[in-house]
C-alpha cells in the first residue's frame, strides 16, 4: 500500500496538487488573481492559509500584471514565491515575465494552458508557448502527480540558476481531473530542496543597494551572457536533479521521456502534456512507432532528444503534435523540433490537434500514425487532423 514512504496518498485534481506543492515547498508569499481554469489553485492555497496549514502571506492582487510585479518585488527581497495563472493572465503579465527573468529571480508559477481570443477556456498551450522567449524555464507534464513533482523540482533548479520557472498544466484534462497523488511530507521535500539562500544582491532594507536600474550598452550584454551561461546548464540540471528526485521521492524525471525508440523505429510522435498519455496507450499496437514527450520545453532539450534518438535510422520520421496555434504556418513545438533536427535527413511532419480544447482521443492518434506512415505524404505537410 505504501508505495512511496513519507508520502500521503490523496485523490486530487491537478490544480489541488499545485496548491499542495506550494505548501510542501514552503512558498512564503502568494500574490493571487482569479482566472479560469487556474482559479482553484489559488482558492485552495487561500483555504490553507485561512486554516493555518501554511504561514504563507496570501494577497489578492488587482490583476495578473500586479500579481507578477508583487512576486518580483518580494523575490528581490529574498522570499520564496508561488503563484498561478492561465491564458489571458499570462498574456497580461508578459512584460513582467521578462522583467522577472532578467532580474534573475527564481519565481515559480503554474500556468493552466488555454488560448487567447475569442473566449476559450479549454486545453491549449498557445499561452505558455507564446512566452518561450521571456527567459522562463518551462516544464510540461501529464498527470497531477507530475504537477506536484515538477513544482518541487522547479524550485530546486530555478533557485540554483536564479531563473524563474513555469510549470504548465493542461486545462481540465490535468487541472480538473481527479487522480491518485502521492504528496511528499515537508521533511522529505526539505531533503531535496534547500532553503532559499540570500545573496549580496538581496534587498534587505538595511544596506543601500539598487536593483534594476538603467544598464548601459557596455554592460547589458554581459548580463545576457551570464543569463545564457546559466540557461545553458538547465537541461543537464533537470536531468541530474530528476535522477536525485528518484533517490528521495522514488519517482524519476528527465528533460524528455522516450518511449519505444530503437533502430527499428520508423516514426516518432513528439508530444507535450496529456496528449502524451493518450499516445502512449496507442503505441502498443504500433511496434514501429515511438514517442518523445517534451517535459522541459524551455530551454529546449536538444541534448536529451539526441540521446533518445541516437539509434534511429535516417528514414525515421518525426510527427510533431501542436496543441497551439501561434499565428504562423508551423506550430510552436514544430518550430523547435525543426531547429533541433536541422541538418538531419529525417522527414518532419506537423499536426495541429486538440487546438482550443478539442478532445484528442486514441482514434485521433491512430489517424495521425496511419496518415504519416504513407510514403506519399509531402515532406512539408502540415495537417489539421481534426478538420480532415
Amino acid at each position: 500500500m505504501n508505495r512511496y514512504p513519507n508520502h500521503t496518498k490523496k485523490v486530487l485534481h491537478g490544480n489541488a496538487a499545485a496548491a499542495e506543492a506550494a505548501v510542501v515547498c514552503n512558498a512564503e508569499f502568494i500574490p493571487a488573481y482569479p482566472i479560469t481554469p487556474q482559479t482553484t489553485i489559488v482558492e485552495k492555497i487561500a483555504n490553507k492559509v485561512a486554516d493555518g496549514k501554511t504561514g504563507a502571506t496570501f494577497i489578492n492582487m488587482d490583476s495578473e500584471h500586479s500579481v507578477f510585479c508583487a512576486a518580483m518585488g518580494a523575490s528581490v527581497c529574498g522570499v520564496r514565491i508561488f503563484t498561478a495563472t492561465s491564458g489571458q493572465g499570462l498574456f497580461y503579465a508578459h512584460e513582467v515575465l521578462h522583467a522577472i527573468a532578467h532580474s534573475r529571480l527564481p519565481v515559480v508559477a503554474c500556468n493552466v494552458g488555454r488560448p487567447s481570443f475569442p473566449w476559450n477556456i479549454w486545453s491549449d498551450q498557445t499561452d505558455s508557448l507564446a512566452q518561450r522567449d521571456t527567459g522562463w524555464i518551462q516544464l510540461y507534464g501529464e498527470s497531477a502527480q507530475e504537477v506536484i513533482d515538477s513544482v518541487i523540482q522547479a524550485y530546486r533548479v530555478c533557485e540554483e540558476v536564479n531563473i524563474p520557472g513555469l510549470v504548465v498544466l493542461d486545462a481540465f484534462y490535468q487541472s480538473h481531473t481527479s487522480e491518485n497523488v502521492w504528496i511528499p511530507s515537508a521533511d522529505l521535500v526539505n531533503q531535496y530542496l534547500p532553503p532559499l539562500k540570500s545573496s549580496e544582491l538581496t534587498i534587505d532594507g538595511w544596506f543601500s543597494k539598487a536593483y534594476g536600474g538603467l544598464v548601459p550598452p557596455a554592460q547589458y550584454d554581459k548580463f545576457n551572457h551570464h543569463f545564457w551561461k546559466e540557461m545553458s546548464r538547465v537541461e543537464d540540471l533537470i536531468n541530474s536533479t530528476g535522477k536525485q528526485f528518484k533517490t528521495v521521492f522514488g519517482r524519476e524525471y528527465g528533460a524528455v521521456e522516450a518511449v519505444n525508440i530503437s533502430e527499428k523505429t520508423k516514426q516518432i510522435l513528439v508530444t507535450l502534456s496529456s496528449i502524451t498519455s493518450t499516445a502512449k496507450g496507442v503505441l502498443g499496437g504500433h511496434k514501429e512507432t515511438g514517442l518523445i514527450k517534451i517535459r522541459l520545453f524551455r530551454p529546449f532539450p536538444k541534448k536529451s532528444i539526441f540521446e533518445a534518438i541516437k539509434n534511429i535510422q535516417d528514414d525515421c520520421s518525426f510527427i510533431v503534435i501542436d496543441r497551439n496555434y501561434p499565428g504562423e504556418i508551423e506550430g510552436t513545438l514544430m518550430q523547435e523540433m525543426k531547429r533541433v533536427l536541422y541538418g538531419r535527413k529525417h522527414p518532419v511532419y506537423n499536426v495541429y490537434a486538440g487546438v482550443g480544447g478539442r478532445d484528442v482521443p486514441p482514434d485521433t492518434i491512430e489517424k495521425i500514425i496511419e496518415k504519416f506512415r504513407k510514403k506519399e505524404v509531402a515532406r512539408d505537410e502540415v495537417s489539421w487532423i481534426d478538420l480532415e
Partner: protein, 311 residues
C-alpha cells in the same frame, strides 16, 4: 549620528552628490528632504519616471537607502511585494516608499495604486506631479493642466480638459493619510513627511513638481513657481487625515492664476489663442476647486477608518 546643526532642515544627508536631474528639477529637492526623514532603512520602489534616471544607472544609487526599480504600471504592486517580503523577514520597521511621476500614478499605474490603497498596504506612495510625461519629452498625461501645450497636445490643439482629481480618487479609498506638498513651503513639506512616516497603512503624498524643460521656465524660477501655485490655489496645500480635510498653508497673499500661467512657456501659445477666455475659465475652475476644498474642510469625517492591518 548627532545632528550637525539644528538650524538646518536636513540633519543627515541621505543622498550622494551627482544626481542626474535637470537644473531646477523638483525630484532632487523632494528626494533629498524625503530621504533625510525616512532614513537609511528605507526601500524606494521606482517605476519608469524621471527618477529612474536621476537615481543613477547601474551600478549607481544616489540614495543611501535601497532602490527597487520596476515597470511603469507596477509601482504599487511591486511595493506590495517588497512590503510583504520585508514583513515576512521580520523587518516591519523598514519603510517602503514609492517614488513615481504623474504618468505612473494618474495613468498607467492607477490600477495597481488603487489595489494597494484598497488593501491598506503599509507603504508611502509619493507622486511627483509635474503635469506631463517629462522623462519621455513632455507628453500629455491626465495630470496635465488645462491650457498647457505638450508635444502630444501641440498648439493650437492644446490640452482642453482639466486634470483628473486624483486626490479625490485616493480619498475615496479611505486611506489614513493623504497630503499635498510644495517645495516652496519646506516646513509644511517636512511636517507632512514626518507625519506620514509615523502613520501605519497606505499613505499618499502628492508633490507639485517643478520641471524647467517641461514647463518652459528658467531653472532659477522653480521655487517661485511652486510658491505661486500655492498662492493662486492651483496647488493648495492640505491634508486628509482619516477622512478629515485640513488646509495646512494659507498664503498671506492671494494671487491670480494668470501670474502662475504667465511664468510658464507651456502656456505661451494661449496669447494668440483667445487668452482672456481661457484664463478666465482656468480661474473659475480653480476658484470652484478651492470652494469645494474649504467646504470639505468644514465637514466632519464620517467615514469609518478601521485600522487595516494584515495579520
Amino acid at each position: 549620528m548627532e545632528p550637525r546643526n539644528n538650524n538646518f532642515l536636513i540633519n543627515q544627508e541621505m543622498v550622494h552628490p551627482g544626481a542626474l536631474s535637470c537644473r531646477g528639477c523638483g525630484w532632487s529637492l523632494l528626494v533629498r528632504h524625503l530621504s533625510a526623514i525616512m532614513g537609511e532603512e528605507t526601500v524606494y520602489v521606482v517605476p519608469a519616471s524621471c527618477f529612474s534616471i536621476i537615481a543613477g544607472p547601474y551600478p549607481l544609487n544616489m540614495l543611501k537607502g535601497s532602490i527597487v526599480h520596476t515597470l511603469f504600471a507596477a509601482a504599487a504592486a511591486t511595493a506590495t511585494g517588497v512590503r510583504a517580503a520585508l514583513d515576512i523577514k521580520g523587518k516591519k520597521n523598514v519603510n517602503v516608499v514609492v517614488l513615481a511621476g504623474d504618468g505612473g500614478t494618474f495613468d498607467i499605474g492607477i490600477q495597481a495604486l488603487s489595489g494597494a490603497a484598497t488593501r491598506g498596504e503599509n507603504i508611502i506612495y509619493v507622486c511627483n506631479n509635474n503635469g506631463a510625461y517629462m522623462n519621455t519629452g513632455i507628453q500629455t498625461s491626465t495630470a496635465t493642466p488645462f491650457g498647457a501645450a505638450t508635444t502630444t497636445n501641440p498648439d493650437p490643439a492644446y490640452k482642453q480638459t482639466y486634470p483628473k482629481d486624483l486626490i479625490g480618487i485616493i480619498a475615496a479609498h479611505r486611506v489614513p493619510y493623504i497630503a499635498t506638498l510644495s517645495l516652496a513651503y519646506l516646513d509644511d513639506f517636512v511636517n507632512k513627511i514626518k507625519k506620514a512616516k509615523e502613520i501605519t497603512g497606505f499613505r499618499f503624498l502628492m508633490v507639485d513638481g517643478p520641471c524647467p524643460p517641461g514647463h518652459k521656465t528658467p531653472p532659477e524660477m522653480s521655487i517661485t513657481l511652486a510658491r505661486l501655485a500655492v498662492e493662486s490655489n492651483v496647488f493648495p496645500l492640505f491634508e486628509i487625515e482619516n477622512g478629515k480635510y485640513n488646509v495646512t498653508v494659507i498664503p498671506e497673499e492671494r494671487k491670480k492664476i494668470k501670474e502662475w500661467v504667465e511664468l510658464q512657456g507651456r502656456f505661451n501659445h494661449l496669447k494668440t489663442n483667445g487668452y482672456d477666455t481661457v484664463i478666465s475659465d482656468m480661474q473659475n475652475f480653480t476658484d470652484e476647486q478651492w470652494t469645494q476644498l474649504t467646504r470639505k474642510c468644514s465637514e466632519k469625517s464620517n467615514v469609518p477608518y478601521a485600522e487595516r492591518k494584515r495579520k
